[in-house]
């Protein structure tokens, strides 16, 4: 069984063994597949020739979709119900440069009513590439797109915003800090809902490490020494034996922890968002998003 030269973009020659690998097969887990000077792998969507994919899409729509469905998955509304995304023949074509599919199309499978097609080699390759693009679209979860659906009721969202359960208006104002939220969020439902749930800051424990400029909503930390001195900053790291905080000037300061000293406390200005996640329903979140979207 010869090793295909096109298996992956993460291939390095043995001679370049000092280089780091981004080992990943058919990219599935959304992890970064490093850009390399390796052979092109037609299974990797980000290295695929878009013009060829577009030609393949047209060819597929014209010649194949009536039996295999517009998305090549077969299904109850198609003539054959043969799913090409999971077809062993199509999957085995991976790494052959479309040859397996091209050969298949030349002869078809008459006993199963699959006719032969007189495609040129380039056309067969384009179709193969389009099919591999569909496989990559299903398997590369790092490239998925959310569908941007606002399903909620804006009026109900406004009531929640101002009501006694959400109490959003305690801290926020439709004409103040929330003004223009739709544009700032690219009118994207998951972005707005993400802001509702998280508050948009670094919520929760620990916060961030590093030199990002502190925002008014950042979690703050106070270290109190046995002598009563209180040192304020931002959370760095904490464990049983040390505390590190970032001081307002960006310097890191660490403290040994001995017998419970110094004391450590954090304050999260966005705690209301954390608390709300156990209070509101999904409908409340959807309604709020629909309302916030109207704040131009």
């Amino acid at each position: 069984m010869p090793l295909s030269k096109y298996l992956t973009a993460a291939i390095f020659l043995l001679a370049t063994s000092a280089l780091p690998s981004f080992a990943q097969g058919r990219a599935g887990r959304g992890g970064a597949v490093g850009a390399t000077s390796a052979p092109v792998d037609i299974s990797q969507s980000r290295t695929m020739d878009q013009a060829a994919i577009d030609r393949g899409a047209q060819l597929f729509a014209a010649s194949c979709a009536s039996c295999h469905g517009a998305n090549a998955r077969g299904g109850s509304k198609t003539k054959t119900d043969v799913d090409l995304i999971r077809s062993p023949m199509v999957l085995d074509d991976l790494g052959t440069g479309g040859r397996e599919i091209a050969d298949y199309l030349k002869y078809g499978r008459p006993e199963k009513n699959m006719p032969k097609f007189d495609f040129t080699d380039q056309q067969a390759f384009d179709i193969a590439l389009w099919l591999h693009r569909q496989i990559a679209a299903a398997s590369e979860r790092g490239t998925y797109q959310r569908l941007n659906v606002f399903s909620g009721d804006a009026k109900a969202g406004e009531a929640f915003f101002n009501g006694s359960v959400g109490k959003c208006s305690t801290c926020h104002s439709a004409t103040g800090d929330m003004k223009g939220l739709a544009a700032r969020s690219n009118d994207d439902a998951s972005t707005i809902q993400g802001l509702i749930v998280s508050g948009g800051g670094r919520g929760g424990r620990g916060g961030g490490r590093g030199a990002a400029a502190p925002s008014p909503t950042a979690v703050t930390a106070t270290v109190t020494t046995k002598s009563g001195e209180a040192i304020k900053g931002y959370p760095g790291s904490i464990d049983d034996w040390q505390i590190t905080i970032r001081l307002p000037d960006g310097q890191m300061q660490s403290f040994l922890r001995i017998d419970g000293w110094p004391k450590y406390e954090t304050h999260n200005p966005l705690q209301a968002h954390v608390d709300l996640q156990f209070v509101y329903t999904d409908a409340d979140i959807h309604n709020l998003a629909a309302y916030l979207r109207t704040l131009k």
């Binding site: 043995l14 063994s17 887990r29 998955r73 398997s139 749930v197 996640q277």
Partner: protein, 544 residues
């Protein structure tokens, strides 16, 4: 009588000629203190050691004996695979991490990473040999380690080969392909040796493959039996929990965690992964047996004896491959053979491991984070709330990944189950609305503040938490007769806790968070503790 007969058969399966060296059936049934002959150290998965030389009173004298940094240089290694000179190969080095448990036999440690294996002198950490597998690809996520039979080692590869090596030389004996990397399979598990069976599973969930577990002949590598996670034909148990063959044959249920084994019952306990497509369940209505389950199989035939499904119709990637831990104890005053599992869906289960009957189901993490379920049914299973299935407009759901593959521990000394956990709510969005969704089919997005992350010590009789230590989330643990639990805190500390109270009694700083299950063994009368963190193994012993 029947049980004894089965044990005898299993013992007889080992040829007499190999029992004099390496690993034999007796060693696997009763591992000597100077060995660690199988992934969990023994068949139970308890990760409890009877060694007590290192104990509460002297653990503060624990000190570094040696370190070993993974040698990833291919030059000089034994090369395996079917490739010609000049063929391109993968090179695994970017995130080299020890996720294996090293085997220890006759003073030699055998450790693995994806594509790599090493034999090390257990007294010094010095390398004896290095084996390198030329890979075709696959997700190089991790490698759980070797199984050993006689003087032969067995490991799996990311591109789904089972390899057998000669333990003395590190030279390859044979390799066999068990699944096709082009279909989206990748393998990370450690083979389990039972009798003359090399039991191997596989993983992969991005292209909707079918899960299976199979047994290979240690001598030849030939297939002995193959068990598919999803039912195969009408009349099979669970057949009607899928709408059609299309969904059954692409239904996932991967077997990427080494199983555990009860020699008296002659049952192998296999925890199975999530169904596929992962988050989009509209094309696979039903409970989707035997995904997200513990399945008891006969290791001689591959036939299923019982099952318990912890996440019916999973749509959240709950992937219940967490270790099925076996222990004997009392339940309501009666002696009982039990199985305990803390699962990624945020629940803690106690089962009778003879029958599979559920004895207890309790939240594994803080219950307010376990929002995907409506409660517990009469069989002790969580009831999924369809309102919390991923949707195109998003649902806020938890507990996130409550725990994972990292081995937990059960101590018969304390009756406590130790497990690394975390908890959070996040928005889950359905991304594939087709009647035939494919791949993961959903994605998560930002959540609010996370809850507690750290080690929990849980009383198996009630499910109540006796102690908690913050930090580290899912992590490998080990308990010992010295009254200790070894684990970490997510701040690169390796810590010995008092197993009764959770108080840290000793700690040291490693160069990374510990990344496998800690191990212990006796050598020349001295107890060692071994742990992997990133690309380095650390061995500790008492400074005397």
């Amino acid at each position: 009588m029947i049980i004894r007969h089965i044990i005898l058969l299993s013992l007889m399966a080992f040829p007499a000629s190999i029992s004099a060296q390496g690993v034999d059936a007796q060693m696997l049934l009763h591992p000597p203190a100077d060995s660690w002959p199988t992934y969990h150290g023994d068949y139970t998965g308890r990760r409890y050691s009877t060694l007590d030389q290192i104990g509460k009173s002297n653990v503060d004298k624990l000190t570094l004996a040696w370190t070993y940094k993974a040698d990833l240089t291919v030059t000089g290694a034994n090369i395996g695979g079917e490739y010609k000179d000049g063929d391109p190969i993968y090179l695994y080095s970017g995130n080299a991490t020890f996720k294996c448990s090293a085997l220890l036999v006759n003073g030699v440690l055998y450790a693995t990473m994806p594509d790599h294996a090493w034999a090390l002198d257990a007294r010094t950490g010095r390398q004896i040999w290095h084996y390198f597998w030329k890979s075709e690809g696959g997700h190089h996520d991790g490698e759980r380690g070797f199984g050993m039979y006689g003087n032969w080692l067995f490991m799996e590869t990311a591109d789904n080969f089972v390899i057998s090596l000669d333990a003395s030389t590190g030279k390859e004996r044979w390799h066999k392909q068990i699944a096709d990397v082009k279909r989206g399979y990748f393998s990370t598990s450690a083979p389990l040796i039972v009798g003359n069976h090399v039991i191997v599973g596989t993983g992969g969930d991005n292209l909707d493959v079918q899960g299976f577990l199979e047994s290979r002949d240690p001598e030849t590598g030939e297939l002995q039996w193959k068990w598919y996670t999803t039912p195969q034909k009408p009349g099979d148990a669970g057949y009607d929990t899928w709408p059609d063959d299309y969904s059954r044959t692409h239904g996932g249920g991967m077997t990427w965690q080494p199983p555990t084994y009860d020699p008296e019952l002659n049952l192998v306990y296999v925890p199975t992964g999530n169904p596929n497509p992962v988050g989009a369940g509209q094309g696979r209505k039903g409970d989707n047996l035997f995904t997200c389950s513990v399945v008891a199989l006969n290791p001689d035939t591959g036939k299923m004896v019982w099952y318990f499904q912890s996440s019916p119709h999973d749509t959240h990637d709950w992937d219940s491959t967490q270790v099925a831990v076996l222990f004997d104890g009392t339940w309501n005053g009666q002696p009982r053979k039990m199985l305990v599992q803390g699962t990624r869906n945020g629940y803690f289960f106690v089962l009778d491991r003879i029958s599979g009957q559920n004895l207890l189901t309790k939240p594994l993490v803080d219950p307010e984070y376990v929002t995907w379920s409506k409660g517990i049914n009469a069989k002790g299973q969580p009831i999924p709330d369809p309102e919390k299935d991923p949707s195109i407009d998003g649902v806020l759901v938890g507990p996130g990944s409550a725990t994972n593959w990292q081995p937990p521990s059960y101590s018969p000394q304390t009756g406590l189950f130790y497990v690394g956990t975390s908890e959070a709510l996040s928005m889950d969005y359905l991304t594939d609305t087709d009647e035939r969704p494919e791949g993961y089919g959903f994605m998560g997005a930002g959540g609010g503040g996370a809850g507690r992350s750290g080690i929990r010590a849980i009383d198996y009789k009630t499910g109540t938490m006796k102690w908690f230590h913050a930090g580290g989330g899912a992590q490998g643990l080990m308990s010992t007769a010295g009254g200790l639990v070894f684990g970490g805190d997510g701040s690169q500390h390796f810590i010995a806790f008092d197993s009764e109270t959770g108080k840290p009694l000793w700690h040291t700083s490693l160069l990374a968070n510990h990344s496998n299950g800690p191990q212990t063994y006796l050598l020349d009368g001295k107890q060692f503790v071994l742990v992997g963190a990133g690309d380095t193994l650390y061995a500790f012993t008492l400074n005397q």
